[in-house]
Symmetry: C2
Subunit: 375 residues, 2 copies
Amino acid sequence: MTDASDHFKAQKGLAGVSVTDTRISKSDADGSLIYRGYPIWEIATNAGFEETAFLILNGKLPTRSQLESFTEGLRKRAEVQRKVLGVMRELGRDADPIDVIRTAVSSLGSIDSEKDLRGKQMSLEAKMSVLAANCHRVPRGEAPRSPKSGLRFSDNLLQMLTAREATEYERRVFERVMMLYLEHDMNASSFTVRVVASTLADPYAAASAGLASLKGPLHGGANEAAMEMLLRVRDPAKAGEFLQTAFREKRKIMGFGHRVYKEFDPRARLCKEYLREMLARRGGDDTLYRLCDAMETEMWRAKRIPPNLDFYAAPIFYSLGIEVPLYTPIFAACRIFGWMAHYNEQLEDDRLIRPDSTYVGLSGLKYVPIEDRNP
Amino acid sequence: MTDASDHFKAQKGLAGVSVTDTRISKSDADGSLIYRGYPIWEIATNAGFEETAFLILNGKLPTRSQLESFTEGLRKRAEVQRKVLGVMRELGRDADPIDVIRTAVSSLGSIDSEKDLRGKQMSLEAKMSVLAANCHRVPRGEAPRSPKSGLRFSDNLLQMLTAREATEYERRVFERVMMLYLEHDMNASSFTVRVVASTLADPYAAASAGLASLKGPLHGGANEAAMEMLLRVRDPAKAGEFLQTAFREKRKIMGFGHRVYKEFDPRARLCKEYLREMLARRGGDDTLYRLCDAMETEMWRAKRIPPNLDFYAAPIFYSLGIEVPLYTPIFAACRIFGWMAHYNEQLEDDRLIRPDSTYVGLSGLKYVPIEDRNP
């Protein structure tokens, strides 16, 4: 019995290890984010969701006719099959929304009748919004909501998610937040998608694995956890006290910190401004904005950790009247476009993603009959 | 517009990159494989499936009472819920078996009522066999098959998979092959499970992602593809000709080659011997063994690539009367134990698995209005 100490060191979390060349997007420690060559603020300020999705998938902004055919391709694939709704209904009223979407997407692998790869991907891209909006309705036995023709992609998701009428500014804010959730280089779910794609599995398998990783509170669940925290704190004057207690009890503060961004998350900065402006235009209560600002200030003072996208997207969704358990499903409805871009890039020059591990266990043990074993 | 060439090189496929320390198992280029300190042949020769599963999960061979309580824990969780069967039925008769299992496991995330982590994992471990045996029956509307009490875990899977009576030697061969499929350090699906676990997602999410990566022909599909190839070649005398044609047409030969094993795969060696002995004991036709041997010889002569586990497990399954589309489901029914060991080890000292990528795309582009874009 020997203790094998190995020759090479584990790169825990693969931090700082590059797994692939990419042309899709790049986040940088200095707080910059590039989508296919464009700084994120160029895109968030000027582009629409469909254009941005096309850009991320194809590497170029679309011409008018490309955009129309892309939009039409999504539109005609949006209807979720009766059998998929049947699967969702089986899960029952207490099902977790992300479980419901993952199971629905997984079932599409058998139920969807798309023939070619791009058709399958567009089907997933189109249906993910509809699944996000219906993931808690259908298992409760409520009637599914559908997209309306003639609406922007983001307007459609918003109208399916909420019953209320939104102003044009509110709808534009929602579209921008969706664009910010669309893609973010090698995050945990996109990496999961690439790992699965590298086995040459189909896009339904890859997307369901992406959804599996979104289930984790360290990844997709963060926007919901951030909102629940904000609702608990409520009063901007209590932000400092709340954080001090959390630090003492070693609780993780959701919505802060990022593997890449150490100074600021550019998406959080944009969303903070959208939240401020949206509440200002309404002219009413801006407590939620002041609370976020106070949390950000206190957190920076105490720990030098900046808020991330989830921290400011959550109060925007909340102010738009969207139920908290739907925040991660919205993430999925946006990120599916990024996932498919990563799927395609992985397959352009595939090598099975199969890392090694450093064995630090025993070796050379001999089998001992069960009667002779010590407890 | 600048071309950003980056400072650090991508480790494509993460080959040779260690992602974690591990005490679970270790495969080595020299053809050795260790399960928790024990050489694989010690285990395959002496241990049973339940003991091996316990060893991989807990790091020690069980005492009699530990083994009994482990076996009982699996036995009482084997029944697949009516709602899960309902989900499987919705997928329809043409559904791919791995799609069916993945969707069923995903649905368990909402349907299963286990409270604690180990209960959830044992539920998955127990039910995966039942799902594997029923993944093509239930969607076709056939009655589900169930485990019988008092049988070994592997005997139960075999009796659910086939209608025929197997001899004691055949059943022992099946058990050994199951033990060889149980765990294999950082393979693509176990790595997928760890990536998902690292987000702190639950074991149902992690297992469904593992199944997603098994869908890929470069990983889980290999045993089925190997069998289909053997059935196409049929005649041992045609092995050389078949391979030469395949090389000329640059077709991949399934069941050969491995990221780690370059000289030989110890599991393939064991299975080759089991196949030989099983056919010899029957005293009848040994063409399938001779065909495999001829393929191995020709492949080694031409390319110096050894067969892997899938290559020799497939003809064993075939000789036991198991339908080819069930080979990957069997893989899943065994590997779920390894997946859960990796899930637990990841969580013992978790860090989110979030690699980086090397951006080689453009930067600094300016948004151009749609009317001014070139196709």
